[in-house]
């Protein structure tokens, strides 16, 4: 079945999901640690940031992609400046896909991670502080290990969500074969071209993958309990 | 509880034990206390506290006795029970109560108007301040 199918979009999707997940881990962990610190005094800034992170949950993906495209179009504004100064092109490039995916999958990383971090008893963190440990040391040696199921669940969800993303990557990436044509876009384009066997192949792979991810998530959550 | 307002006249201390002397209505009272000495000095007002069951009654008492709190009085009334009786003795403007056995009341032929002495052992005397 896979013989007539272009494997390029699948590899691209895999690469995009991996890079996005790594970026989200690097970004999400300090962000969540900051959001979960001082639960006695949440503060207005933390509330606002939490709302902004969750915005993609309700926003149409195409809307986010549209604004990203406008912002990073190489013909004007920030996009032009980036292209002139650093020779970086965001729109219609792999880095653009990563940027869009990171923003769009951020809540899927943050939600489980934040919940797990908030579940850690305060006394355990306080105990580490009395031992004279810096906040970074407490985070690395105590907080993240006790919340590791949240880290794992966040990474799995963010990875899976990136694989399934369509609207944002279509807007900012444009679906250029070999560069920004990920599996979900390939599926759409094959269907439009009435090439059903290829569309079927992409769709089936995505369905199987999604099922596997949900199963894996359940295993992680059961082990955390 | 019987309570008598008194004035401290002397305080002798030893680690863990102290002996208080006090006076009320011209009578001398003594209290032996276990524990740290209270922060008191001669002239301070204190309240002597002792239970009705810690009061003994004597009639025509002769000879020497070690009990240090020994106050003369006249019985005002007796509330009799089968085993125990409650004897009321005026002291100053107040009334001291003594709970003794009904057998003793009969043996000593106690009744209203009889002159007696009431006695309290110094270590049964408490001090509040």
């Amino acid at each position: 079945m896979l013989t007539g199918v272009d494997l390029q979009p699948l590899w691209l999707t895999l690469r995009l999901a991996c890079v996005t997940t790594v970026v989200l881990l690097l970004l999400g962990v300090p962000l969540c640690a900051w959001l979960a610190s001082r639960p006695d005094r949440p503060g207005r800034l933390r509330s606002v940031v939490e709302v902004l992170i969750n915005l993609p949950l309700v926003l149409p993906p195409t809307a986010l992609g549209f604004y990203l495209l406008l912002t990073f179009s190489p013909t004007h504004g920030p996009g032009l400046w980036l292209a002139n100064t650093f020779k970086i092109q965001i729109a219609f490039s792999f880095s653009g896909l990563v940027l869009g995916s990171v923003l769009f999958s951020l809540p899927f990383m943050v939600q489980p991670l934040l919940a797990a971090l908030r579940q850690t008893p305060r006394n355990i963190l306080d105990a580490a502080r009395t031992l004279g440990k810096s906040r970074l040391s407490v985070l690395w040696h105590v907080w993240l290990p006790t919340a590791r199921h949240g880290v794992l669940a966040g990474a799995i969800l963010a990875f899976a969500h990136t694989v399934g993303e369509f609207g944002v990557v279509l807007m900012i990436g444009g679906g250029i074969p070999g560069q920004t044509r990920v599996a979900s876009i390939a599926l759409y384009q094959e269907m439009e071209a009435l090439n059903y066997p290829a569309a079927h192949a992409y769709a089936a792979i995505l369905v199987v993958f999604s099922c596997a991810v949900l199963l894996l998530l359940q295993v992680v959550q059961r082990r955390a309990r | 509880m019987n309570r008598i307002a008194a004035t401290l006249t002397d305080l002798q201390t030893d680690p863990g034990v102290c002996l208080l002397s006090a006076s009320a209505h011209g009578q001398a009272f003594f209290a032996m206390l276990v524990g740290d000495a209270p922060p008191l000095a001669a002239g301070d007002a204190v309240t002597l506290v002792f239970k009705e069951t810690e009061v003994s009654i004597a009639r025509n008492l002769h000879g020497e006795i070690s009990l240090r709190n020994r106050i003369p009085g006249v019985i005002a009334g007796i509330e009799p029970g089968r085993l125990l009786s409650r004897v009321a003795i005026p002291f100053g403007e107040q009334t001291i109560h003594a709970v003794v056995t009904t057998g003793s009341v009969e043996r000593l032929q106690l009744q209203a108007g009889v002159a007696i002495e009431w006695l309290v052992k110094a270590n049964e005397m408490g001090v509040a301040c």
């Binding site: 006394n123 306080d126 502080r129 009395t130 031992l131 004279g132 | 524990g35 740290d36 506290v49 408490g126």
Partner: protein, 285 residues
């Protein structure tokens, strides 16, 4: 190197004022019923909370005086939490190693030995018994080589027989390490066994400070000692009234006058006053 506590702060809407100086190596007990803010005071000493007025200092270091403030991480306190707050992701030995300062003067094995956990270095907290967890929490606090040890009802999570046994070993450890200690407790036996000083907190925010004997034995009546109990039974008995009072798991029966009995009701909390000289003792095997 004394612990100087001269401060006040709001706890549950009441202003609590503390004024005591604890010489190095001594133990101060914060004693009182639950809910009066003993733990809050201990957290204030650790540096989790700020004071409103006054000063907290340890030796020459000012920890909090309204302007200057030393955060928890730099106070060098060893804190034993009521629920022990052990790290679930680390073995006993690993927790101790993590707790140690950069240049430790003692090995992890030393602390395991000292607290009787030598055989349990590779055990995770979930695999240890209640008593072992308590000792691990204490070992972890000691392994950080603190200047001040803070114990928040360290034995309250354990059952009575274990508590007595660990009280003994805790007393030995405190004497051995000569660490200045602040202990939160609502157990009189613990206070007398471990502390040289006591700060008693009452529900209305009032505090009393002194030796355990000064503060806890005498309440208004000298030479008499008071035990708190609850009236179980009030019954007329001839010219007096018979009262049965429960004190902990024990009961006491006494006779009081009808006038006094009229002021009492079943279930009421009362102080049972005992004449020190009249108390008799019998050794129990």
């Amino acid at each position: 190197m004394s612990l100087q506590l001269q401060f006040s702060r709001q706890i549950a809407g009441r202003n609590v004022t503390v004024d005591c100086d604890i010489p190095r190596g001594d133990c101060l007990a914060l004693y009182g019923p639950s809910g009066v803010g003993k733990t809050t005071l201990l957290r204030t000493l650790a540096g989790f909370d700020r004071i409103d007025h006054g000063r907290i200092a340890f030796g020459a270091q000012t920890w909090d005086d309204g302007q200057r403030y030393t955060p928890v991480e730099r106070r060098r306190v060893g804190y034993v939490f009521q629920d022990f707050a052990l790290f679930p992701n680390m073995t006993a030995a690993r927790q101790l190693a993590y707790a140690q300062p950069r240049q430790p003067t003692q090995s992890v094995e030393h602390w395991l030995q000292l607290t009787g956990l030598a055989a349990h270095g590779q055990g995770y907290p979930q695999q240890l018994s209640g008593g072992q967890r308590q000792r691990l929490a204490l070992a972890r606090a000691l392994a950080s080589e603190p200047d001040l040890l803070l114990l928040d009802e360290p034995l309250s999570a354990l059952d009575a027989s274990l508590r007595e046994q660990l009280q003994e070993s805790l007393a030995g450890l405190l004497a051995q390490t000569r660490l200045t200690t602040v202990l939160v407790s609502h157990d009189l036996g613990e206070v007398f066994r471990l502390a040289q000083h006591v700060l008693k907190l009452d529900g209305d925010g009032a505090t009393q400070y002194g030796t355990p004997q000064q503060v806890l034995l005498q309440r208004g009546q000298y030479g008499r000692y008071q035990l708190t109990g609850r009236v179980l039974l009030l019954a007329p008995a001839e010219v007096q009234c018979r009262v049965v009072v429960a004190i902990g798991q024990e009961t006491v029966t006494t006779l009081i006058s009808h006038t006094e009995a009229a002021g009492l009701h079943v279930g009421q909390a009362v102080a049972v006053s005992l004449n020190g000289a009249s108390a008799t003792l019998t050794a129990l095997s």
